[in-house]
């Protein structure tokens, strides 16, 4: 028979190993993402999105124009079952980041989705943050997103450029856990 302490150690090791075995976290594909952010041009958002993202009114903008300490980019598709089932988590995450002291802004880019399809997704899942179409997949390719859902987290550096600090090629999962990861990476 195992001693009680040995049994507890076994169980703890199993939890540790199972967490290590879970997938989702991916090595950073790109680091200095500022050029990529500058190259991703998105169509003019509606006025509430202009205010939220801190943009000047005008035509297309780049991700690098967004006024924020941290930018979270979600690459999604209306046709992606994982994106559909993860929408609630993503919405909750958006709610949480609005309570943070750091200025964390979020946008979604619909990979190979038209304006119509992005609007369907936004309405169906009651998405509050700005979503943009990427009908030819140019933005997704620029950000090296090859599947959906995909999350890229970038932090503004002292010289005003953005550097990628975290990427995830899977569902967001638990919002608080994702936020914790984002905040930890931002401090590194």
């Amino acid at each position: 028979m195992l001693k009680k302490s040995e049994g507890i150690i076994c169980v703890l090791m199993c939890f540790i190993i199972s967490n290590c075995a879970s997938r989702g976290n991916t090595p950073l594909q790109i680091e200095n993402v500022h050029n990529e952010f500058s190259n991703v041009k998105l169509m003019q958002p509606l006025s509430d999105a202009v205010r939220y993202l801190g943009l000047e009114k005008g035509a297309a903008f780049s991700l690098s124009d967004i006024d924020a300490d941290i930018i979270i980019v979600q690459i999604f598709s209306m046709y992606c079952p994982k994106c559909q089932s993860d929408a609630e988590n993503v919405n909750e995450f958006y709610r949480l980041i609005n309570e943070e002291e750091l200025s964390i802004k979020m946008v979604g880019i619909g990979f190979a989705n038209s304006d119509f399809e992005v609007a369907i997704f936004k309405k169906k899942f009651n998405i509050s943050f700005p979503l943009f179409p990427d009908p030819y997949g140019d933005a997704a390719r620029e950000l090296q997103a090859y599947s959906t859902p995909y999350f890229l987290v970038a932090k503004k550096t002292d010289d005003g450029t953005f550097e990628a600090i975290y990427t995830k090629e899977d569902k967001m999962g638990r919002p608080r856990s994702f936020l914790k990861t984002v905040l930890l990476k931002a401090k590194e």
């Binding site: 028979m1 195992l2 040995e6 076994c10 169980v11 090791m13 199993c14 190993i17 199972s18 075995a21 879970s22 997938r23 598709s77 209306m78 046709y79 992606c80 079952p81 994982k82 559909q84 089932s85 190979a112 038209s114 119509f116 399809e117 369907i120 997704f121 169906k124 599947s147």
Partner: protein
């Protein structure tokens, strides 16, 4: 010594259980088979807009028999033929239709999804998409008979990526035999449904 061995055996069994439990079940995305790009269209239509739609009776993944004529006088019918389960474009197309049931309802239309795959294959594939609201029918045996009747059976035995809209009188109102490698735009389908229902 025996106690040490017992401890290690228990430990190894626990690790194996954890490994098995940690393994993710196969998701839709995991199961996708990526083949080579196919010839855009590889069939000849046997029907045209304005024709009476050929009737058919196929079995759903739930084991029910559905005939096109079941809907005559009741609903418009949108038929989505897709080439094959567990392939990239098809696996993106139906999950999109799966979240717009309200739009099909708005235009009094039932969507029927048809492939030449057998029922177990279709069952596994559509389960991976989540709960599908529309009937999914197997055109497996006689192989591709319905697809062939409409003129959308390709030479390699799969169907085209084709959309048909049939009105409540059983008349074909719209046909799109699409590039098999490309997902048809949803807005085009919706616009055509709107025309059939005469809505602005």
């Amino acid at each position: 010594m025996g106690l040490m061995i017992k401890k290690y055996v228990i430990f190894i069994i626990m690790i194996m259980n954890v490994t098995i439990l940690s393994a993710d079940t196969i998701t839709l995305e995991d199961g996708i088979f990526v083949g080579e790009k196919a010839k855009t269209v590889d069939s000849e239509l046997k029907v045209a807009v304005g024709d009476k739609a050929p009737d058919f009776s196929l079995t759903t993944i739930d084991g029910k028999a559905i005939s096109l004529n079941d809907y005559k006088g009741e609903k418009n019918v949108a038929i989505s033929f897709v080439p094959a389960a567990w392939t990239p474009v098809c696996s993106g197309q139906w999950p999109g239709y799966n979240i717009v049931q309200d739009i099909f309802d708005e235009y009094n239309t039932i969507l029927l999804g048809i492939t030449v795959d057998n029922i177990p294959t279709l069952y596994a594939w559509t389960k991976a998409m989540g709960e599908i609201w529309f009937p999914v029918l197997s055109d497996f045996y006689p192989h591709g008979e319905v697809a062939d009747r409409y003129g959308v059976l390709r030479s390699d035995g799969v169907s085209e990526r084709a959309l048909f809209i049939i009105d409540k009188k059983g008349i074909i109102r719209y046909i799109d035999v699409h590039d098999i490698n490309v997902r048809p735009p949803l807005e085009t389908l919706i616009a055509e449904l709107k025309k059939v229902e005469n809505k602005k």
